[in-house]
Symmetry: C2
Subunit: 208 residues, 2 copies
DNA sequence: TTCGAGTTTAACAAATATGTCTAACAAAAA
DNA sequence: TTTTTGTTAGACATATTTGTTAAACTCGAA
């Protein structure tokens, strides 16, 4: 109970901090507000994490890990035929973003406002991109030679997939009141968007 | 010189405020920093705009006007055949966002963090969407009946266009170091993205 | 039981940000 | 010239926010 309670306090602060930073950003977040949401005095927050900055770093590290995973999801299952593989990759990535709808905005904001911090992230993401560029690109090239799909730059393909999947969640609060009765239900709208994104990309890579 | 100088001070503050708010957001912006960038004392900022909030409102109003214009641009030239019209709409919208690359992030952030303020915007954008849904949708339906293009929900089409065009600029700081030598030149990358987005949407609406 | 490490609280300190006030100043009107 | 209106700078006030400190408490181990 004590050790679990100790872990728990720290975890409570982390959970409250995650929520606050993801919704309000670094500048909008308040350490007192985080402490209050976590049910501890604000001195406790400083006791465990020293400064707001260090607490933020903890959240950032955790979230960048998640981002790496999401990019990996786009790669799809290498044992499937290429078109099925891409289809599965889009679907998995869409689901990933649906599970973490606040994440893209957070990452975009933090990278734009503090570009200097992220050499590490760039290195890690860069490795993933290189994997993709090497492995998947040659597979696409071979499939294209066999006439199974259109020849295509894999980086461009990935940007398009991320655009379609991520923007849906970035702009959802903006679009929601404009969609009309048909789309008022979030689940239904997301299902239709997912299908639409898959359709759009599959047509893009279809040999014609 | 005097009257023009007076106008100029207010304009200087507005220009500095626009830059500060667009890059740092409301919470990150500092009135003293805005005043300094404008070359005036911070008392002047309060003299002209009373509060940070009111100064911010001025910028928001102006930027929402721009957003409305950008959505209108997607509609394209009604005198063109439908496929050409859509192609032109994508291109015009892409150029619009390229001219205002910081705007999407600003709007998304403000809407997420202060949803209550934007009934007015929603009404205005809602009218634009209705125009589109009525006018363009029926034109698309007719073209589809004539076999000129695929039958398609115009709202879904617009979301896809906005996704592809806007995300490019939202994520550019993130992607830039990952693109490799080929894309290192911003102008070249944007030209290729624009062509790719047009190709993607045209294939989506092409009758097959 | 007493010792001590780790935990917790409340009070305090310092910095920063927004906003106000007064007095000086400039330019145009009376 | 005097008055009036609007502009500007500097000092001041207030509130908020982050961060510190010292003392008290908890609980297991010696």
């Amino acid at each position: 109970m004590d050790n679990q309670g100790k872990q728990s306090k720290e975890q409570q602060i982390l959970a409250a901090a995650e929520q606050e930073f993801l919704t309000k950003g670094y500048d909008g977040a308040r350490t007192t507000s985080i402490a209050q949401a976590a049910g501890v005095t604000h001195a406790m927050l400083h006791y465990y994490f020293r400064t707001k900055e260090q607490l933020f770093e903890r959240i950032v590290d955790e979230k960048f890990e998640t981002i790496s995973d999401s990019m990996f999801a786009i790669m799809g299952d290498p044992s499937l035929p290429i078109v099925e593989r891409i289809k599965g990759g889009i679907s998995a990535h869409f689901d990933f973003v649906a599970e973490n709808p606040l994440l893209p905005r957070f990452v975009i904001n933090e990278i734009i406002s503090r570009p200097e911090r992220y050499e590490l992230l760039h290195k890690r993401i860069g490795d993933i991109i290189d994997n993709i560029s090497n492995g998947l690109q040659s597979e696409i090239d071979h499939a294209a030679e066999r006439g199974e799909m259109e020849k295509m730059d894999v980086k461009m393909l990935f940007i398009s997939i991320m655009s379609l999947n991520i923007f849906t969640f970035l702009a959802y609060p903006f679009m929601k009141p404009l969609l009309g009765e048909l789309m008022a239900d979030r689940e239904r709208f997301l299902a239709e968007r997912k299908a639409e994104n898959i359709e759009t990309i599959l047509r893009r890579i279809k040999k014609q």
